[in-house]
């Protein structure tokens, strides 16, 4: 940096800012000099690190990168993880993605929890020709409305986890049928939170339930900033539903669960609750989550989804004692994504996507990877959801866990029967 430039910088931003800027500039310079054609493959990871979900996912990606490096890297090149915090906000994520691609020179982007974040950076990553492997966002729009509409433009996008919410809606209907068999619960209150990922739970799930001969007593979307749940619980009760079938990722829910349990509302709490995926949720709710269920990829590490699920979870738990003490669903996705990316790059023979996109895309489409959350294969270019992970018991299943009293409050896998470790338990006041 010339003295002249230094003087300008000093004048424009002051001493403190100047020192910081020098650091930033040096880092940026290092990034510019270091990326692209050097000996390091850079894997970007974007997750909301103020949430347990994002911490678990980042740690899981770190573990996978460490394993890959211990095993000789990718095509004999070292792998570096560039992990950033999306804060779960699309604008913040856009800024981070821009830095990661243009300053840090990442070769692939893995991650995103909030679907709106994925949708907010998808155009940028397509424009910059950076592969994007979604490991936590479930909105069907990510594949259907992008590669499904303009395959050439968005063929850089793959999703390893979780199954998209169109498939989740079908799986939840199967789960409802299971509950009807187990407990005779035939009436369901469909209550998704209001967000991009839950659209199919409003559009598809009610019809799926009715197809299975089940009753939809209530179909209402819940505002994400709801903080008084009594009216919601009263509404479900008034509908006469046996089950509140909710899908929450952003609504925290502890308050709702304690109100539900203390007042012994006459219905069960089933479905998806991301907060409940945290192993610390029992303590967070003072045990208020007893009997609640949540679906979660990788069964939250509570069951043998594949032979890798439990060893990976145990390894995670050995390394990390502070919360979250399990990878949580996105962790399984991010961990599998790193390994799948490595295999695809080695098949393609290059980590430079822009140089030969077809080689990478074809190699990804050849994926048949037994990961921690299932056997991962992708739909092809002609499918309604191109490059989406295949759902189902033979591929990526949809395990449901229930909080039970055993062991002082723990989650056990109760569905599907093929991998369940325990029976689903009815709340005592409903028995």
């Amino acid at each position: 940096m010339s003295e002249h430039t230094a003087r300008i910088a000093r004048r424009s931003i002051g001493r403190r800012g100047f020192l910081g800027t020098v650091g930033t500039g040096a880092a940026a310079l290092a990034g510019c000099l270091g990326g692209g054609d050097d000996d390091v493959v850079r894997i970007g990871h974007l997750a909301p690190r103020e949430l347990d979900m994002g911490i678990g996912a980042t740690r899981s990606a770190e573990m996978a990168v460490e394993e890959v490096n211990d095993d000789g890297g990718i095509m004999d090149r070292d792998v570096e993880l560039v992990a950033e915090d999306s804060a779960g906000v699309p604008s913040e994520a856009s800024t981070k993605a821009q830095e990661m691609v243009q300053q840090e020179d990442i070769d692939v982007m893995i991650g995103t929890f909030v679907s709106e974040v994925a949708l907010g950076i998808i155009d940028f990553l397509a424009d910059q020709q950076v592969p994007f492997i979604v490991s936590g966002s479930a909105s069907p729009e990510i594949t259907r409305d992008h590669a499904g509409q303009d395959y050439e433009q968005y063929r850089n996008v793959f999703r390893v986890n979780s199954i998209n919410t169109n498939f989740q809606a079908e799986a939840l209907a199967d789960y409802a049928e299971f509950l009807a068999d187990e407990h005779g619960w035939n009436s369901f209150a469909v209550t998704p939170e209001n967000a991009a990922w839950t659209q199919p739970f409003s559009e598809i799930l009610p019809a799926q339930l009715e197809e299975r001969g089940l009753e939809v007593a209530l179909d209402a979307r819940i505002a994400r900033d709801t903080d008084d749940f009594t009216p919601v619980l009263d509404q479900v009760e008034a509908s006469g539903a046996d089950v509140m079938l909710k899908t929450f990722a952003h609504i925290p829910g502890p308050g709702m669960l304690s109100t539900w349990r203390q007042n012994e509302y006459p219905f069960a709490q089933e479905g998806i609750n991301v907060a409940s995926m945290s192993p610390q949720f029992w303590d967070d709710t003072g045990g208020g989550c007893l009997y609640e269920t949540t679906a979660e990829s990788g069964a939250g590490g509570t069951a043998t989804v594949t032979e890798k699920t439990i060893p990976f979870t145990d390894d995670y738990q050995e390394r990390y004692e502070d919360r979250p003490t399990a990878p949580m669903y996105m962790g399984f996705g991010s961990y599998d994504a790193v390994h799948i990316y490595r295999e695809a790059v080695e098949r393609a023979g290059t980590a430079d996507y822009a140089e030969d996109p077809d080689a990478f895309v074809d190699a990804m489409l050849e994926t048949d990877h037994v990961g921690t959350a299932g056997r991962i294969q992708f739909f092809g270019s002609d499918h309604e959801f191109p490059h989406d992970v295949k759902p189902g018991l033979d591929f990526a299943p949809f395990p449901v866990q229930q909080w039970q009293e055993s062991g002082g409050g723990e989650k056990v896998c109760t569905f599907p029967r093929e991998i369940a470790t325990d029976d689903h338990v009815m709340p005592e006041w409903l028995a």
Binding site: I13, T21, G23, V89, S91, R224, D225
Partner: protein, 334 residues
């Protein structure tokens, strides 16, 4: 008359040091994408492109609040109205930019008038309180009408470009023109009346000047500026959401930028915006590696420090320092 004389007479009574500083800053900022990548400062182009938009907001706030002393705590509702109008018109009605841009500025103007008309005739804290509550109300409306606004996670808009150099000039050029326009107004007789309103409104009224009319004009100018910035911000990110555009913190940030730079100076708030955005998006999270809560705590702590120790604004202090330097040197040569 040289160009320097012409410019200095037009906009201020800058001496050669002050003029030199302005010239160096202008030249270095207008050529940033050329020299930054080769000197290792390439990482500054994107945050400074964003800072240009925030500079527009800070100037928009300054022309009403800095000059007249009617402090608005709700200016993010104006820029937010424009950003959301852009997103909603593009998404729901599929209108092109040529239509969404003017309509969005009108949206900012309408929200601005809803703030200004009932409150600018009142004295005391009513204006501030009304803008504060107005912004809270606007924020909540986004959730009430979440089927149109996308609620907390907002909605997508077409991003203006992914080329950071082009993006930088898309934000830098309008920012410069807005700065020149607002400087022109603020250095004219209108500016004098606005400052007089701040200093002693009854005295201005007793001179037969309709202060409400002047305040309304200033607010109109402010709302239009906020509208332009709001549209730019929506297309900058390619998305709008309440946290980025509307939440009360954003209103406070505009004020802090203007105060750090130096209120009622138009140019000061630009500097304030640059310092604030660089701290928020580059220095604290990048260079110092602060995440989440720590970063925001540090940001507000630094902002508080700057406000306490440079009450008139960092850039005004620098400006006056150079002014004194100039007069000392001039007296030496005499």
């Amino acid at each position: 008359m040289t160009l320097q004389d012409h410019i200095t007479r037009r906009f201020s009574e800058a001496n050669r040091y002050q003029f030199g500083l302005l010239a160096i800053l202008f030249v270095s900022l207008s050529t940033l994408p050329l020299w930054a990548p080769i000197t290792g400062f390439g990482g500054l182009i994107y945050p400074l492109a964003l800072a240009n938009i925030w500079a527009i907001f800070a100037m928009g706030w300054d022309i009403i609040s800095g000059y007249t002393g009617y402090i608005s705590f709700g200016h993010s509702a104006l820029s937010g109205a424009a950003a959301y109008a852009t997103a909603m018109l593009a998404t729901h009605l599929e209108l092109p930019l040529a239509a969404t841009f003017p309509l969005s500025v009108v949206a900012a103007l309408i929200v601005g008038m809803l703030f200004a008309l009932p409150s600018l005739r009142l004295r005391g804290p009513y204006f501030s309180l009304l803008t504060l509550v107005g912004a809270l109300l606007f924020y909540r409306l986004l959730f009430v009408f979440n089927e149109y606004t996308g609620g907390e996670l907002g909605m997508s808009v077409e991003a203006i470009t992914y080329d950071t150099t082009v993006l930088y000039y898309y934000t830098f050029v309008p920012m410069v023109f807005i700065a020149l326009g607002l400087l022109y107004v603020s250095r004219s007789n209108v500016g004098v009346v606005l400052v007089a309103i701040r200093e002693n409104e009854p005295a201005v009224e007793s001179a037969g000047i309709d202060t409400t009319k002047f305040k309304l004009w200033a607010f109109t100018l402010s709302a239009v500026t906020m509208g332009v910035g709001g549209v730019m911000l929506a297309h900058f990110y390619g998305s709008v959401d309440p946290t980025t555009m509307v939440i009360l913190d954003r209103s406070i940030e505009m004020i802090v930028m203007a105060v750090i730079g130096g209120m009622s100076s138009i140019l000061g708030p630009i500097g304030g915006a640059y310092v604030f955005i660089l701290l928020r998006d580059t220095i604290l999270p990048g260079t110092l590696g602060l995440g989440g809560t720590q970063r925001w705590f540090a940001l507000w702590a630094v902002a508080l420090g700057l406000i306490v120790f440079a009450r008139e604004g960092v850039f005004r202090k620098l400006w006056h320092g150079l002014g004194e330097q100039g007069s000392e040197n001039e007296s030496e040569t005499e």
